[in-house]
Assembly symmetry: C2
Homo-oligomer: 414 residues x 2
């Protein structure tokens, strides 16, 4: 197999003006890494034929795979394929299928196609046309003098599906890549990154296939397992075995796979057990309820919440006793307990969860910023209260509080 040296060239003056970030290069780099193709350079150049030409020549000296994004549209500024054709000494020809696709696009939106749109159906001769399923301009893949050139549109909504569905396969075929590479992300909560890495240190040190990549962010740790095998089923088996080995040690903290969230897993669990939840939110100001209802499928598990930002609302609407508020304060285990119990009863839900504490920037009732009480009330069980103290911004405190709330409810239900 050819030793891949890839350069990704993004064409567009809007990148050089800082109006947008080059997220296309990041996406492509990630996708290429997953099939074992090295990326050596990213380049950004403006909508300028002369500078683009020079950039292509520079890339030819140092790369054997050159991927372009942007400049395939219908306007005068779009000059990527014309410039590449010029450098490679290739003709441009109209692709009938692409033209029909563009015509179809206008028909569907009931607009008349202007003449300049036909320009988008023009492709490099001998190129493999990469279909644009979410837009008009087709992409291309072509081999010239032992180098591979791939042309992709600039808008990420068009570029991403085109590369995933067609561009990647073009490279796999042309480079004769045999291995299937499959990844799986395991998500952990309630365990710190260093503790997790220490617990499985010998497994990480001995990794070969699958590889193990830990990543910590937003109070969570993920492990990305990546297995390589010519047979997809075998690669999957390697992942299964590694997952089992790791989770024999730290499985109690593993809450899900891939892009799931703790809130998403809590919702799944509530649906499975056919339970409803309601919240009494003070410092979180509605964040728990908002996240619970942000994604569809909340109406069977959620009736409503009370946001009680003042003691007045805690007392009158949520029926927290004035004695508790006077003697213990709003930021107290006693208040969290009453809030959780009462919201459950008031709404007739199976579970009541409460959040009270100090989000900051000022301290409250002599508690420092970051003091939080989370109460969880369930039928026929003693109400649990978790006191937590953490550092961080107002936003971080609120977000962590909601995550830990979900985590504690799941622990009680399991």
């Amino acid at each position: 197999m050819l030793e891949a040296k890839t350069e990704i060239i993004a064409v567009g003056s809007e990148l050089l003006l800082g109006q947008i970030v080059n997220s296309n290069a990041q996406f492509l780099s990630k996708q290429l890494a997953e099939i074992g193709i090295n990326v050596y350079y990213h380049t950004v150049v403006g909508d300028n034929a002369e500078r683009l030409k020079q950039a292509i020549k520079t890339a030819q000296e140092r790369a054997n795979i050159i991927i372009f994004t942007g400049g395939l549209g219908p306007t005068k500024d779009d000059l990527t394929k014309e410039t590449i054709a010029d450098v490679l000494g290739k003709k441009l020809v109209t692709n009938e299928e692409a033209l029909a696709n563009i015509q179809d696009f206008f028909d569907k939106t009931k607009r008349v196609m202007s003449e300049n749109n036909k320009k988008q159906a023009i492709v490099l001769e001998d190129a493999e046309v990469l279909k644009n399923e979410t837009g008009m301009a087709p992409g291309m893949g072509v081999e010239v003098d032992g180098r591979f050139y791939i042309l992709l549109p600039g808008p990420p909504s068009e570029m991403k599906p085109m590369f995933t569905n067609y561009g990647q396969q073009f490279l796999i075929d042309k480079l004769g890549i045999q291995d299937k590479i499959i990844s799986r992300v395991l998500r952990y909560f309630g365990i710190g990154e260093s503790k997790l890495e220490t617990d499985i240190e010998d497994i990480i040190d001995a990794q070969t296939n699958p590889t193990i990549a830990p990543l910590a962010s937003n109070d969570e740790v993920t492990l990305r397992l990546t297995a390589k095998h010519t047979d997809e089923a075998e690669a999957m088996k390697l992942l299964d075995e590694m997952e089992e080995k790791i989770n024999a040690r730290v499985g109690e903290y593993c809450y899900g796979y891939e892009q799931t969230t703790i809130m998403g897993e809590l919702k799944k669990l509530l649906h499975e057990k056919n339970l409803t939840i309601a919240a009494a939110e003070s410092l979180t100001g509605g964040l728990f309820s908002e996240q619970l209802t942000a994604i569809e499928g909340a109406s069977q598990i959620f009736k409503g919440s009370i946001i009680c930002y003042t003691n007045e609302v805690k007392e009158q609407l949520l029926k927290v006793s004035s004695g508790t508020l006077e003697n213990e304060g709003a930021v107290s285990a006693a208040c969290a307990t009453e809030m959780a119990d009462n919201i459950r009863e008031i709404t007739g839900s199976d579970i009541g969860i409460s959040f009270t504490g100090v989000a900051g920037p000022d301290s409250l009732e002599r508690h420092p910023v970051g003091t939080v009480f989370i109460g969880i009330s369930m039928t026929d069980r003693e109400t649990e209260v978790h006191e937590i103290n953490w550092a961080g911004s107002r936003n971080a405190v609120r977000t962590r509080t909601v995550k830990f709330g979900c985590h504690y409810v799941m622990q009680m239900l399991k």
Copy 2:
């Protein structure tokens, strides 16, 4: 003045693996555009001395300002300054001030400085040292053979303040930039982009100084005015005059400046008028209250809310009459009115706002997705209800609903 041709070189293998996006290049491009400096290329290269050396040589052929980010840290991978020193034939020397700063950093965090950290205090001879106020590794600016080289650290939290506070001034001084360039962003809500542009078309067409750049996103339109003048006060005057000219036509839709939000402006107005607000949230599920309390300073204007996701909660907790729910339905002007009136009374607030409607994905009570009623109740005024119908995802419907809610309250208060 030298005609600036800038290349920004980001050094770091994590960029080529797609683990992070090159947001540094975007930030620097924007900052450079604001002082009138052209950026012609962005390059990303890995932590590899040979390839970095070649990238520097390529940049020397096509640029006269070369800005590096990344590779100034203490580890073996960090080789930016060593490689540049090599290409430029410059010595590396220890900078005592930088060394003291690093020592100070360790003292403050009560850790012992390991030997490799001293490497960070080494700088190119003859370079102007750019102070790192948020980290350890200092930056550098140096002129060699008519080209300007600027070295900045990779972490955005260090790079951004260093460039804004020192790097930009280095360029302004060295290039003899006389003009001050000042921007002002005007924010509009409740008017579409095309309507706004049509209303001020002749002003946009005649723009010279200030320039006018419209941008639409998330139901808002912004106009960025940028004025240039050797005298800052004169540049400011140009902005004032242009703002007045534009807002003589579309001022009723202009709600604020720069990075403000509609929620932020509503909060400001409530504080000014010393008023409190409470919400009854159905389809928005807590989003209004969450946004209201996300940023500090809500406790004087906000007592609490009821999230009433089911008719049961609307009836029992929010006291919406069963007649209204049976005859008109939960998605109705009548229900929105009662919700707004009742939440105001229950919480003893000056203003009650209600949100009821269909967020999707399924229709409700035979109303299509996107049907929304917003109710606003104030003391001594007739309760207003706004019916809106819009297309979009669940998330888009909820977000727009909250924005329009803020907008309507502000209109009533003005």
